[in-house]
Symmetry: C2
Subunit: 338 residues, 2 copies
């Protein structure tokens, strides 16, 4: 295999990932939606949320812990709570079904929420956030994962890495978007250290005895720490309450108990809140999109960065030049088709 | 003055604070609502949000930077966005007007928001959160303050201390509530160090040159740091966007420019989001309030604490025994009436 064949256009990579998922038994709807998120990760240089995730998806399918052909179903009672039952499938198809209705309802009521129930989650939240910022909405998304983080002051895994993602639309620019784990590090980052045989930084995790560790194996067997001490721990608990308990779906400890281990994609729900800046700012002085740019300019003007800038720079590059994969990565992808 | 006279019942302290505010020119509506929040802080042992705040309120009134007699006005278009124009007064009376309608709308639509515009803020958000948890709702409240925190990677004040508060109702128990600054420390904490002549911990702030400092004067003149590095900085930016830009009210840099200094209460808006757990969990397995208790038990069971536990313990004590003030504090309160 020559070096040239390892550079794929986004469309070529998408077709390959869809083929892999279809080969593994996913319906076309599920394969298309899931591949889109994974290709977005690879496109943006997020290795821990790119094609690296495919193996886990396939293992989760093989283990019977996800419904690869389920059709998500939307329930809409005309309130500010829209609900999509993912029926055990991966979340992207459920989100794709609910997003346009969520956007419409947010424009009508000012704020609206999308509850995804009974989904198997596996990836980043920013692709969902960007779907909504592309429609001119501000959006916030949260979900539990599985128990792997000790609450501040504790020493046993209870909370999930519980991501918090937010976006604000910037006309004619990449949106303001952040998406991070409420643990100090994402579990995928520790997993990458394990694969690379490297140590993790101090302060990321505790071993099974509640002692600090820099060994990724010990960290994965023990407990990660929340970011920001008691404040991050409180935010992570809020995420369990709002996007686990409140929406009638599994909390992180329940998701772990249901799954039995932490090597497969967890089953839980998700909560997405969409805001219409036009509706919220109506009748008030100033254009919210212009005023946001003033704030961003002030951040950049003192040498600080906006979140996701590196990701967007990589996106601009790969959209022009394609995604370059190593020979090992290409062989891995091909092996999924055998 | 004997030691006995320094212990006041909650009602006695409330009456005294209302008298001070009325004496300073506040309307009865404004004095009652503002006093309630300040007395709640003192009752709960939050010295930085208790009677300590009165002096700042009076200075803000004297400087003409707050409307002490404004009547808040509610606008309701039957959407999920309720709006109260505080008309330049302190925020508590505006919140008191909007809260019952917010609760009703959240029960109807599942989620609803209260925008407070043009208020002068001065205190903690947890009294507002607890008003909503007392009505059986989960709630989230955010607001800007004035530019005093550098964004992560920067070195000039731009963001506010931007509090984030959340609550979850616990039937027959004190609610799950957190309320913290998205700076590492609250500005009031640094101010208390300045008054006490003590140093602040390392990592809280930078001086005017962007160098680390443990001097509270230098910290107040320089910039505080966000909690949780880039993650806390991103959350603080989100708070500027949602509860400043989006609602058509001042961001923290605008509030500072408007005020001209950081010794008075800032003028800005606030965003409160209320969720109905009953509505969100309808048709799903399990009772959300019971399931939340399982989560809290698991946190407490491994030796970690729930936020606000110390505050609630103090509340239980002062509700029984009254609030004990030092002679200096009593004299200070009396001096406000002269």
């Amino acid at each position: 295999m020559t070096q040239e064949t390892n550079t794929l256009s986004i469309d070529e990579l998408s077709a390959l990932v869809v083929k892999i998922f279809t080969h593994a038994g996913m319906s076309d709807q599920q394969a298309q939606a899931t591949a889109k998120v994974i290709v977005s990760g690879e496109r943006d240089g997020c290795k821990s949320h790119g094609i690296y995730r495919i193996e886990g998806c396939l293992r989760t399918i093989a283990a019977g812990k996800v419904e690869p052909r389920a059709e998500p179903e939307l329930t809409d009672d005309r309130s500010a709570v829209l609900r999509v039952d993912a029926k055990g499938a991966f979340s992207p198809a459920a989100f794709a079904l609910g997003a346009p209705v969520l956007a419409e309802r947010a424009r009508e009521l000012g704020v609206a929420t999308l509850v995804i129930n009974s989904c198997t989650h596996f990836s980043a939240l920013w692709p969902e956030i960007e779907t909504l910022t592309d429609m001119g909405l501000a959006a916030l998304a949260i979900c539990p994962s599985y128990a792997s983080v000790a609450p501040h002051g504790g020493k046993e895994p209870l909370l999930g890495t519980n991501p918090l993602a937010f976006g604000w639309p910037r006309p004619a620019k990449h949106p303001y978007v952040f998406d991070f784990a409420t643990s100090i590090a994402a579990r995928g980052e520790i997993e990458l250290h394990r694969r690379a045989g490297t140590q993790i930084p101090e302060g990321w995790a505790m071993d099974v005895n509640g002692e600090p560790t820099i060994d990724p194996e010990e960290a994965l067997a023990g407990a990660m720490l929340p970011f920001g001490a008691h404040k991050g721990s409180a935010i992570s608990t809020m995420i369990e309450l709002l996007s686990g308990v409140m929406i009638g779906d599994m909390t992180s400890p329940e998701a772990l108990e249901n799954l039995g281990n932490t090597t497969l994609s967890p089953h839980h729900g998700e909560l997405i809140i969409a805001f219409s800046p036009e509706k919220f700012s109506a009748g008030r002085p100033g254009n919210p999109f212009d005023r946001a740019e003033t704030l961003f300019d002030a951040i950049l003007g003192q040498g600080a960065r906006l979140p996701s800038q590196r990701r967007f720079a990589m996106r601009d590059k790969t959209m022009r030049e394609g995604v370059t994969l190593t020979s090992d990565e290409m062989q891995s992808l091909q092996s999924f088709l055998s």
